[in-house]
Symmetry: C2
Subunit: 551 residues, 2 copies
């Protein structure tokens, strides 16, 4: 299938109609790719994604033309070009050795279903362009609401399909979900009242003035996701009014520090608008003491939001759901199905305990989302949206809660086993123990690791920058060599005098990752470290200079 | 491929591994669906989507269970269920008789490419999970920037791949694009300066106080999209500070009224933060006089944003791009590729004239979007995002600018021909003439149509509610009968004394829609009107009572 490549006059409407009406032939390049994707996705990805890293500036040369091509291209030629320029240099996120981020392998059946979803091309903003997709999305939100809040059947019968209510909002991802939750919290706090039409209408400055608050604050632990700072900016709150609360040695918010900060905000004439609990920090996977936070939020009458973008899926496991105890007291909860629910990118959700909470952000128009309609667009930040809820629906049905439980349990077991394996090495150390399937660690040459056990804070501080340099070097080299990928971040571990410490970060969500692979990843890191002679020398010199090692 | 359906203990990890490693068999239900989608999408959609409307409350019964199923399901059984419950009652957006909204048929080659995109499952927030997709997205933004602003090649060589800059932001849709543009405008206006850390940090109330403005306003014509009101709410500006400016008889902003409103805002101590021009109103497809708006924006030193979510694609046609003259003076422009660029749902963009404008909304974190990285996430409102840019890239290459030109030209020609056809009927009238491929019209019984030509405003006002009732009835009945779909909205046409008037609204973007089909749609509407005896009687009685018709 192709358009004519003759001179201008011959780019015909007939040729264009064909691309809307006649499919690719099975033996065309695209037809073959499609079959390969269906029959052997892992094989396709392994065969086409080049392992060895090509420098970014070289890749950019392939994407340098700012002119839209005048003439059409043959689909087959274009597809070849995509394979060579794009697919070859994309990231093998499904690889069991890609354990650096939250993107895992996908169950096979979701691929043809995704194609079905694209082919149907529904628009969920309004029922006229989505019909059954609207009740389906409402059901998925109901199921997830039930997972979090566990209300009785009657509750869902009453609210799930109610036009004026909503158990949550589907969106592209956790960032939009978090912004939506805080938008609701802001509009609820600065609601309309005598002499004030509400913040939605009059704006935030008028709201603060009317209610007599100097500022509105959002409190979250210092391990909060950067999307919360973005939300504070977008919503007009200001990032400096996102108050970072100190954490304990497990990266969990300190409830005493939270109470102190609440008191401080109030004493300074501010108002705590929302407190955010984290159920699975992005960097270490730790979960805040949610029930305790709920108590504080109730004390200061603040909206309680839980960012469970990553950890929310843990609720599907009866073995581990107790870790999130207290989440059922949250006013709103963010969960990303494209993280540990194994759905493709683009499936975020925010759930609301109270189905009428969304009134705070309700919008209507004449041609869509009319008052009283069941159009989902009246309660979402986004407008036009695809039918991603279908993929969540299918994943929930095909895998079932028990299937998810197995996936989640094995991921946490694996993280614990990996932590055990790291601890057995005399040249690696775990920095943060896993609570979910995330953990951080680093490489430390054996003599230095042994010496650090009895080091004082000054000595720890002295060697940390060089250890950071080594960790960064190992992480980058390993990524570039293309066999495996762990990510890195900076933490301030208690055991290292809160000195900024670069660590490897792994997310063990991919069910196909084996302990053998993890052992190989450690071995590769060790080899890279051993070949980093210059950094090692500097590190040992510094260790001797500060008395950590003997001369 | 399926999970075991045996009792609990038998939901095994082995069965789960299989769904990650073994594809659906070609002869499985899902395998067959996939082939059907590939070989005959139109046939699949026509065969599976039930034409006759099933009442929503009945569909809801199929999506009533709030419990996540405990046990896994067979993929084949689940797929059958999806076909019967969901697909059968979804909307045939690709049908050439579905001319009520902006969702059209898709070119065939985009389906397998969409599947490839999902299979690759890249996350565009950071280069570590997207690699070549990052430069590709930057190139697509560059191409669209070039389409709008037409800078020299050197400009793009310099900025397109610059880490600290961005020619735009990809996002899920026009709403997020508009919010992003106004977020930039707000943060630019309330920038950091001596004694003020900027609105991003200190919040909007502090910004207004520091700069001494009573309020920040956004001005747009009364035909502006509802997403702008949502943006004003989200950003803390307040919806009442979104000032609606009067339009002329063609639904275009009145530049004199715009100047007046600007003066009024300033006189009252406010500040015009942004003026939004519309390039293709959602309801009627009209385009504001963009060059004139640019002049006013320059006079009052306001950010000039153009919402070209719908009409932006018109720039691809040399025949019609002059309609958007002045767009190249906009500071930012919204374009949705999932509208008239024929890409699946979820491909919005905002473009920035000045590549450093995004500094106003820049965000960084330790583990991703580090300072100096090329991670796209540092300049977008959303976080994790799929690689939709690939589909825009492919569409631009396979269709070429000239292919798009043909598609756009034929859609506008068709709208003009349809307007002509309507005008020839003695019982239909065009309410708004097409400028792009949108037009609105209504049914009016022949004697009343003739009489309305010499009616006074009072008489027009008297019959309008009953004509509205008739239009609404026709639109709903036609939708329910399932052969075709036009949408409806309410306008305040000059020729009808600005009385709220319900109209049919059509969007003629689908290249497969023929004039014969349009004639049939009119005929069907006429027949429904003729059978609405009760409303017709009431209408004629009212027409006589007010002297529009003789007794």
């Amino acid at each position: 299938m192709h358009l004519s490549k003759q001179p201008t006059a011959d780019v015909s409407l007939d040729a264009l109609y064909r691309i809307f009406t006649i499919p690719e032939a099975p033996e065309s390049t695209l037809g073959k790719i499609e079959r390969h994707l269906s029959e052997n996705l892992a094989g396709f990805l392994s065969a086409h994604i080049v392992a060895k890293e090509k420098p970014l500036h070289e890749i950019e040369e392939d994407f340098a033309d700012s002119a839209i091509p005048e003439q059409p291209s043959f689909v087959s030629e274009h597809t070849d070009e995509l394979l060579n320029k794009l697919v070859a240099h994309s990231v093998h996120t499904a690889s069991p050795r890609f354990i650096g981020h939250m993107t895992s392998a996908l169950p096979y059946f979701l691929l043809p279903l995704a194609k079905l979803m694209v082919g149907l091309n529904q628009n969920l903003v309004k029922i006229e362009t989505s019909k059954a997709f609207t009740p389906l999305e409402r059901q998925v939100l109901g199921m997830m609401h039930h997972l979090v809040y566990g209300q009785e059947g009657e509750f869902y019968q009453h609210w799930m399909h109610s036009a004026e209510h909503s158990l949550g909002a589907f969106c592209s991802g956790g960032t939009v979900a978090n912004i939506t939750a805080l938008w609701v919290a802001r509009n609820k706090l600065f609601a309309a009242t005598d002499g004030f039409a509400g913040v939605a209408s009059e704006g935030l400055a008028a709201g603060l003035a009317h209610y007599g608050y100097k500022r509105a604050c959002v409190l979250v632990s210092e391990r909060g996701h950067y999307s919360l700072s973005k939300a504070a900016d977008v919503l007009g709150i200001g990032r400096s009014n996102l108050v970072a609360v100190a954490t304990d040695h497990n990266n969990r918010i300190r409830v005493d520090a939270l109470r102190e900060q609440c008191a401080k905000v109030a004493a300074e004439g501010g108002r705590v608008m929302a407190i955010v609990g984290i159920a699975g920090t992005t960097e270490t996977g730790h979960i805040d003491p949610l029930a305790d936070i709920a108590e504080v939020a109730a004390e200061v009458d603040a909206h309680f939001h839980v960012d469970a973008a990553w950890g929310g899926a843990t609720l599907l496991s009866d073995t581990h759901r107790h870790l999130l105890q207290g989440i059922e007291q949250a006013d709103s909860v963010t969960i990303d199905a494209h993280k540990q629910m194994y759905v493709p990118m683009g499936a975020g959700m925010v759930l609301f305990k109270d189905p009428s909470l969304v009134h705070a952000i309700e919008h209507h128009a004449e041609y869509v989302i009319r008052r009283g309609s069941k159009d989902l667009g009246s309660h979402t930040m986004e407008g036009s949206r695809p039918g991603m809820a279908m993929l969540v629906y299918s994943a929930l049905h095909v895998m079932g809660r028990k299937g998810y439980q197995l996936l989640i349990d094995q991921s946490i077991d694996k993280a614990n086993n990996f932590a055990g394996l790291i601890s057995q090495q005399d040249d690696f150390e775990v920095i943060t123990e896993p609570q979910l399937c995330l953990l951080t660690y680093r490489y430390v040459p054996a003599p230095i690791k042994a010496a650090l056990e009895n080091a004082d804070d000054a000595q720890k501080r002295r060697v940390t920058p060089l250890l950071n340099q080594l960790t960064k070097h190992i992480q980058k080299s390993q990524r570039e060599s293309g066999n495996s990928f762990v990510s890195r971040t900076k933490l301030t571990p208690m055991q290292y005098a809160k000195e900024p410490t670069t660590v490897f970060r792994t997310v063990l969500a991919n069910p196909l990752t084996t302990m053998d692979m993890l052992a190989e990843i450690l071995q590769e890191q060790r080899e890279i470290a051993n070949s980093a002679i210059h950094t090692q020398r500097a590190l040992f010199a510094e260790a001797r200079a500060c008395g950590l090692l003997n001369d």
